[in-house]
Point group: D2
Chain length 339, copies 4
């Protein structure tokens, strides 16, 4: 169960409430986020929701039988809107575009990408400064210095930054320079990292695990929410299957299912989802039609020279065209009713 508390609930009222809930056999986790205070009750016995609901200090009470509670649409039908400031949002009913290189490489590269984004009215830039690499001998990114440099240039241009955080110790040092912390597909179930991101007041985008289920993605989001951070975005980026003709298998089925189960916005990553440059646009537009609230893709001035992921990165001409097509497709989608 989820109990939303009133702002002015007294400590005594809360204690009495918790005592009563414990007595019906539910364990309570207290959650305090940017937007509200909640008690999440975990238990299995049936109980009389009205009796609990009549106690003082309660705003509302909901029964949620899913393994994930706070991220479920069952208690919060209204979609969550992520406000990054300066009029930049990621939210249901809107189409967020995030573009940029796989790796942040140099000042010149950053400048060129920002220039490209501005010309195409794209407000969020993706890029990696800490790179998870399966081989210890591969390029691991420019690190914090790269991030600071990037931040300075992005700030100036009014561009928001989306970048991956790989470990707990980076959260604090990255904090001043990040708009959205990205949790990568290899860290979706790094529960310590999720716990700590729950304590931060910045948006977090969680990528689906390499072979993560939809349920696990929602549970990972539940970690961050129950840690105190409601500013959450989910990202479908392809899963691992037996099919090797593409890098991953982009699972667009996940988009309407996530949207139905959760109030959180959902973003699609066609670059990792198919891994082949020539087909990224088709998958991006498919993602729009699947019901996504945003598209994140890789672009670089000269993809062939990118430090990583060049084979799935669009050049600026392709990116400009795609951004336009995404917007047109989204505009048409908005005119479509569903029965």
């Amino acid at each position: 169960m989820i109990i939303q508390l009133k702002q002015d609930i007294t400590e005594r009222q809360k204690e009495s409430l918790i005592k009563e809930v414990n007595e019906i056999g539910y364990k309570i986790t207290e959650v305090k986020t940017q937007l509200g205070d909640y008690l999440v009750g975990i238990g299995k016995s049936d109980f009389d929701i009205r009796r609990i609901g009549q106690k003082e200090g309660i705003e509302d009470i909901h029964i949620v039988s899913d393994e994930y509670k706070l991220v479920s649409k069952k208690w919060k039908a209204k979609p969550t809107s992520i406000d990054l400031g300066d009029g930049v949002f990621i939210k249901d009913g809107d189409m967020a575009i995030m573009a940029g290189p796989c790796s942040i490489e140099s000042e010149e590269q950053i400048r060129k990408v920002i220039q490209h984004l501005k010309e195409n009215n794209i407000k969020m830039m993706r890029g990696g400064v800490f790179k998870p690499r399966s081989s210890p001998y591969a390029f691991r990114g420019l690190g914090l210095d790269g991030l600071k440099l990037w931040y300075e240039l992005a700030q100036e241009a009014g561009i928001k930054i989306v970048t991956e955080v790989m470990q707990v110790s980076q959260i604090e040092e990255m904090y001043p320079y990040v708009d959205i912390y990205q949790v990568g597909a290899r860290n979706t179930q790094n529960f310590n990292l999720l716990d700590e991101l729950g304590k931060v007041d910045k948006a977090v985008m969680i990528k689906r695990g390499i072979s993560g289920t939809i349920e696990e993605l929602l549970q990972s989001a539940e970690y961050v929410f129950s840690g105190g951070n409601e500013k959450l975005i989910l990202c479908e980026r392809g899963i691992r299957t037996y099919e090797k003709a593409s890098r991953n298998t982009l699972d667009l089925n996940a988009v309407p299912i996530l949207k139905a189960k959760s109030h959180l916005p959902v973003v699609v990553d066609p670059s990792h989802g198919i891994g082949i440059r020539a087909y990224v646009p088709q998958m991006a537009l498919s993602g729009v039609m699947s019901g996504a609230d945003g598209i994140i893709y890789e672009t670089h001035e000269i993809p062939e020279k990118a430090y990583s992921d060049g084979q799935q990165t669009l050049d600026f001409a392709q990116s400009a065209l795609l951004a336009d097509q995404i917007r047109k497709t989204f505009a048409m989608r908005k005119t479509f009713a569903l029965l």
Copy 2:
């Protein structure tokens, strides 16, 4: 290698040609289809293509290193167009819509579906009369009698029939009543069935196997083509993965990849691809944006009463809306350039 023969090649010229190709170490399969005569050469040694190419009786000669040859775009860049007569086509640059129930159930049901299709200008009707069922105790379809009845009504209405053939012995008996033979996902590698369908002069739509690769789908099509039948359609219908929130994992990545590798048209089946009624439209429209040449989906007057697959079947109001959205989305797609 693929050698396209001239219409007027003499037997002597052909024998001399085969002899020469054998001498460079290639095994020859002779293929005679509705549209042309080919020699498919299988071998590994390098050879001088010009020397062979200068022989008499040759229209053209191509080197194709893929495991599949005749279905490859490497020798036939021009997309294959399937002409069902009466102005009904499945082809690149067009959007075929096929709709109908999972199972053909009764005369009344057929009449109602046909009425619905006509009202929405849908020219192809899907439906099963031979149903593959994992349990031997489940409903297995109305069989040939159902097909005959269906044919009579469809014929009258100018509607083309797409239906599954399960075994070799059915090919001939179904022949007069079928416009497109469908090879189901459990029969994609039923090589005897594919061989025999190669001898028929009607279109064949091959569904991707339950866990079939893109490569295997193309090789299955190669079976039919090399047996003598060029009228082939490929169908992506979702693959089996670890994810159980949807019935299958619709792999839209397959669409641009198949379109790039083969000259055959590609159809997407969102009904089996996700298996949940409420999300079939999103997946259908995603399929359009992925580059498909057609969409096949399930519809029934009262899905809850359908003999099979009711949970993924649209009612007529949903179907009417979807057909319209498919056409609008496709019209927009046609305006999009790709770089």
Copy 3:
């Protein structure tokens, strides 16, 4: 439910019984096998099993809630024993060894394999005369003539034949020359083939599908049983996964699960299960320890020269050693209690 009928049940008794079962809402399938007559009832309502059980002509009655009924251990706790004659069995408490080449190639090859089997006291020979091949241009086997030749030589040597049947039309022509019909992994859900094999009085070994579930394998066996043939063997041969370091992923978990769910014997195929010659023995012995009732593996005098599957085929020295190790491992397993 499964109702075992008495041998001497009268038609009138049977009709009355079926009527009564229909009245409680169960659909009846009559099954007549080599060993008995059964009524399989499919339905969902609760009923009083004693009331039905008291009717005349009934040997026994069982409630089986699984999708598969007749192959379930829930009504037949006693393991099924497959008797091939001449003292050759496949059964629980025994260790059947089946060995031989992937493809039957020539008289000389057959003679050499038979000689090898005799020297090592192996009583069953595997080999393909009809070969399912993903490419239409690959070697498809010697066909019926090869089978006749093989039969003659095997017969003489007292060796039993296990070979794949690919389509309905082959069943009858192969009949005189086969001891075990093998249903290949691409045909596990070829329901017409399974139906027809239900009418034959020879053993059938069903391989698990390329990406078949354990449940589906049991349902495929149910097809054959409900068609009238109880002589069934299940075979685990590896499944398709994302892992490409081996040809397939041998799923030995399936062995104890199948043995617990069904009364049918279970055989393991380590050759296809791993696909790498050097590791076939380890996987064969693992299969023995997993609880298998038999091992089927590929052997050839000179694996490098085999027409197919050479990379996973043992030479005769390896095969001789492995057969000995299989027997020793099985002998030890028999001394082990399970708690």
Copy 4:
């Protein structure tokens, strides 16, 4: 390439060597472990190995084309032996048994397990004090206090401790109380954790990822080795597939493949590998026959009351029997030659 350095190499010799290797286009990573100093060279160009090999200060030089280098058998044919002290080893040619509960629960529980292990001559105890849980509301373990208590009791009894480390900050605090750090299946690609474990002088057992490839497991081990720690153990624990009849799909194919590719010992976890108590013994013994150097399984006095994983946990009677059967099976395996 891997260059093993002499103990007495001078700084000047090393600099000159690195300079020369850089000049042929190879990037050098210096690795200093408990056992030796290495230069790992990453590059693609061909070079004359003898020219480099003749330089001063070099013990040996090897070309290793795999993505993983230091864990490859290509330069170190001799198997790595992990010495935990007091005569406890994990090594090729031996059979390590690790048993214990999923979670450490209480002093009484620890005492009982230790008593059971001593009675059965099992020298290594597994157990979790930091538990990765997909739900934030589940029991997360006793933490460091639990570990300290456990250590005290285990120390007294001469039992070694295997336990999971979940994040970088735990490495140091756990250090005094741990014999083998376990990296869990959700952390196999937590590269920061692997980096830091490279700096520790205690054994590390890396579990294969939830859907990790064999190649990725080796690359994860490469992270730790290249960080400075050679004391590595690999663990097969089942992978995620479409099959849901078992918790995971135990991939025993991985065992001979890992043993052939790497010099590191390989342990099998049948408890997670199948997830069903009744079948854990069969899978453990299969693991022995697949060539494993050790078996790790879950046991608890009363599995039904275990805080977690009770359904796959053996009681003490089953555990005693299994330990005996593992040893007998291993003794037989040692008598088997492979050809």
